[in-house]
Subunit: 361 residues, 4 copies
């Protein structure tokens, strides 16, 4: 099987590095182009990138020459880890030029015909790609976004509860430093400290969750009608965002019923068979002091969301804690999973999906 | 002026050490007796205590011989930093024997005739001491408790809002490791991690707050009628508990009105003149990313509660963050302030309050 | 191929857990018995162990019933993660009873006929097993130790330099908290702090290194004649010990020559082909700010030692930093690698080594 | 008594803030001018500075308008917290213009006629000011530097040992993040990590220490003839640098003798009476696990250097650990103490030293 070439925008940044790490030895995709800022362009990737993840960059990628964002790219599939400003127009241009652009940037997430995709949560939002192409006169290109990294543990844990009627949602996050990129949070601000505010994340929690949990009506997304209030805080943790969630449901399922909804949840076929998907995307931890960022972030290679402490909330009815790895499930891993779904659904031109994408877990 | 002799129960533990540190050079009180476990009894304090605070113990205290909990004590005033089990009966015995016992232990906090005292919040609960003495046939002794350390930033910030009618309260704490004493939290559990559960604190948040904000009716405390739901988490911070508070009020004061209520708050006379009291016990920080544990815990020598981020909450109406130093305002400092109030109010036998207890800040 | 049954002493502790984690899906060994303290004995492992590593214990192990240290064991191979006191006599008894005991405990490391084995460093010390059996009249049993976890990055990096004549060694370590087990280091002692002393490790650095780098003369180990001075400090890092090493050599090789000695080093056949061995056990990092604990500890699944910053030392001639994962290469992983070597060398009765133990890396 | 006006260069940075904090309520000096970058100039200090120390800036300083580095200044005394580049020429210009400039910048430290002053270590180097003025034709101005923050615990602890003949010095530091300023070290680089390299500090350790411990011969400084080898590492600690020191002495004093040298050390008159000087600048801690950054950095309001673990070193004879607060004793506090010494010695024009500068400790 011929792998599909992939370009990574913002490849030298923290999320760009995570894309490269996760795509190392990917069965379908091959990193062919790395794109950086004008300061990095022309250098070897190994020289241009200050690698902030564990170990060193893969040797074949270290030897690639960094391209400029203004260049044209050969890869049919593009992953974007661009900062918001750079992303806002360039991603649309590249989609218009025929590329499938899976972006982690926030710039276009709430645009009406851009799907905010998370396979296990709203695979049917893929249909918005056809709307997008029709709206814009595109044939092979498309722009698909994934959500903010703190929204991820919220929507992952709530999706199986939508059937009970979600009415109100109270969220308090404890977020890892890697969510701010590199150099990101100064150590002077976070060692032996908590910062009770994360710029712009509270607003994203309150808007992106409505779109992600909404329904595709054939033309647009009907946002879920619920009231969301979010407080976002930063804690001295390297990776993984923990969210303390209180939720009001129209129906009153038993605690055990909800836990069963979570542990049996798989999303629609063939998602659980995609290379980057865990067999079950949610795990419920029965220990009273879990989930914990350091101990649970790598569950399912960082793609499983861990939930714990489901119990009664005197205010809204139910409360629990939900945790996802913010740069894997919450960013690069999700974008890759989105692309895998698009690939098997025929959205990537010239990609011949293997007959049986089933993988063993 | 002759200082009043003080005994400290549980003197070798983390809170006991904080008592000793805060009482060093106290204008009214003098540590005369230190009491430890049977393992420590008979040793010099400097040898028996593994000092976990900054620096070393004061030299005069280091030279005291540790007494046993079964001993009799000469000091009219006793501060207790005992663990719950040890506290439950011994504190009552000592009160019965005529001592004023100001305790930080949780054992007797919710006993009906034991005041859960915080001078700026409920100084009038002192009246319960007379009830207690009458109930039990005591004349000079009494048992006075202070609350759980995480309850402190909650009741300190809510007291000025009681007048608006507090109906519901949603709390998510981010607590420091020192709240668990020494050795307390294993570093293996908290480095690069968050623990989303603190044993027994959620229940204390939901019960002690009702008593503390309640009204003394001459015989008992009428608890405040409000609904409280709490989630308590532990973060890698040395000192200070931060609580994310959402509150529903019967009235709808403007944001500026509430801020003004906080910054002008002083409690009743003569509290703000007591040696350990700050002139204003609440400060409102206007920076969007405050209060922060490391930067704000030492405000007012650890006795000022810092509030920030007051804004609308789509769920309950108002939300904000409140922070107190957990082992000063939240434990030893509060007990000492309680004792100062009792002293000027004449509850400590033979104590001649100085005519003008006013201190400069 | 039939796997060999393995028993783990001290299975519920931090190092015992690491044994279980590393042996999960091991190609040759299968955990059949888990042994704990009298408090744990009789319980299911999943209930008895407070799992401190990531995730949860493997399900098949969680279902084993914990045995008592006084029981008899069926497994021919035993890994010991016992504390020193418990280890001192029981390990010898079990070796006498015919078991191959690979221990991480310090109790018997410096006993004359007990090999202090690290395959890449002193595989020939295996010969001491024959001496041991002859001395003690044993036929199938044996006791084999691995070194202190902080000694590991020292001897791993120095082995290729022995040929130059090591004369003096100055060591300053920066050690992870996991080296002290669980609960181990109190968070109150290490958050925002360094502790400039690690009980008993300095002495181990100065004695075990001489034995490990020594030569087996057919009867005993001739210790390497060098002078070692060590300072051991604890830092707020979860895993991996970093040692700042200054070394005086009799010869004066060029910097590049030493780096080449390291990067080409493999130890004798067939070590690099053993299941737990990395192809090259040493890596030299060229970045000026490496090795770093968080970024380099997992190199080679925790079995590669990372070296960096080799440069002139005005005092002793050469200096560099060396880092190993303390609970993998420095403890459980090393014991397992020792057992693999013993297995292919025929020291484990009834073990039929597979004809070609070569593994791909 | 009229206070002397002071200007602070680089006032918005981390060290500049420490100057402002330490000068709040200083008995002799008054911050009259704050100078920042062109981006800050013209703004109120409270708006321009992102305050990274505890609490908030003093209110009177928050209300000052930030001046530009190109402005002229009225204050006779200037403290400089400028970055190296900005410092290199501007500080000389200001000294030439008649100001006493006490700088923390490294730019001019090793210039022959610039004293690298630390009152307790080399007060007699003040004589170099007269040489400097003569060399350059200045009358009232002068430039005086203090050393790198990591050199401070080294020279403070070695000064009393110079009499024994220091021959060789082996240093391994564990440095706090605040040494790199703000934003300085990225949290992504230091959480759960150690960085075994601090740019340019090793060289400063090996050069500045020779000058500081040298002797003023009436014209220049005769550097101390000793061999120094330094390794500098960064650890996740907020404040205070710990240095592991091995030293070779020509004479062989007993351990107790050295400890006595330290604990009795005061420097020459009238240093110990200066407002910012501790009575004894060195303390020896007898606990085996001290000094520790978090517990000992605030000794003597951050001006006392803490020493511990003096013992035999098999390589160089003696070893111990020494710790100083890096932004107080190691930076701003030292500059202020230098200025206080200059003031009483008559180097600051128009300053009338009070007749008895003795302060109580």
């Amino acid at each position: 099987m011929q792998k599909i070439d992939v370009a990574i925008l913002g490849a030298t940044g923290a999320v760009g590095q995570r894309f490269i790490q996760l795509l190392d030895n990917h069965p379908w995709f091959r990193v062919a182009e790395v794109i950086g800022s004008s300061r990095s362009a022309g250098k070897l990737y190994g020289d241009a990138a200050h690698w902030v993840l564990d170990g060193n960059p893969p040797e074949d990628i270290a030897g690639l020459t960094v391209k400029s964002l203004d260049d044209e790219f050969d890869s049919p599939l593009i992953f974007s880890a661009l900062p918001k400003e750079a992303a806002s127009t360039r991603e649309m241009q590249l989609a218009e030029a025929g590329h499938i652009v899976c972006t982690n940037a926030s710039a276009n997430r709430m645009v009406g015909d851009v799907p905010l995709l998370l396979p296990e949560v709203n695979a049917e939002h893929m249909g918005l790609i056809d709307v997008q192409r029709q709206n814009r006169g595109w044939t092979t290109g498309a722009l698909i976004a994934n959500s903010n990294c703190t929204v991820m543990p919220v929507v992952m844990s709530l999706k199986p509860l939508v059937k009970y009627g979600i009415k109100r949602l109270h969220l308090v996050s404890e977020q890892a430093i890697s969510g701010a990129g590199y150099p990101g949070v100064s150590s002077m601000d976070i060692l032996d400290n908590v910062v009770p505010y994360v710029p712009s994340d509270e607003n994203k929690m309150e808007t992106e969750s409505l779109k992600m949990l909404g329904a595709f009506n054939g033309e647009t997304i009907d946002e879920l009608q619920m009231i969301v209030g979010a407080t976002c805080t930063r804690v001295p943790v390297v990776d993984a965002h923990l969210v303390n969630i209180s939720v009001e449901l129209a129906e009153k399922p038993a605690i055990e019923e909800i836990i069963n909804d979570w542990t049996s949840y798989q999303g629609i076929d063939p998602i659980s068979s995609l290379p980057s998907a865990p067999e079950y995307p949610l795990q419920y931890l029965t220990q009273i002091d879990r989930p914990q960022p350091r101990r649970d972030r790598d569950a399912g290679k960082g793609m499983v969301t861990s939930i714990g402490r489901l119990r009664e909330c005197p205010i809204l009815g139910y409360k629990f804690a939900s945790l996802s790895h913010n740069t894997i499930r919450g960013a690069a891993g999700c974008s890759i999973l989105n692309a895998e779904l698009l690939a098997v659904k025929g959205y990537i031109a010239d990609f011949k999906p293997i007959s049986e994408p089933v993988v063993s877990h």
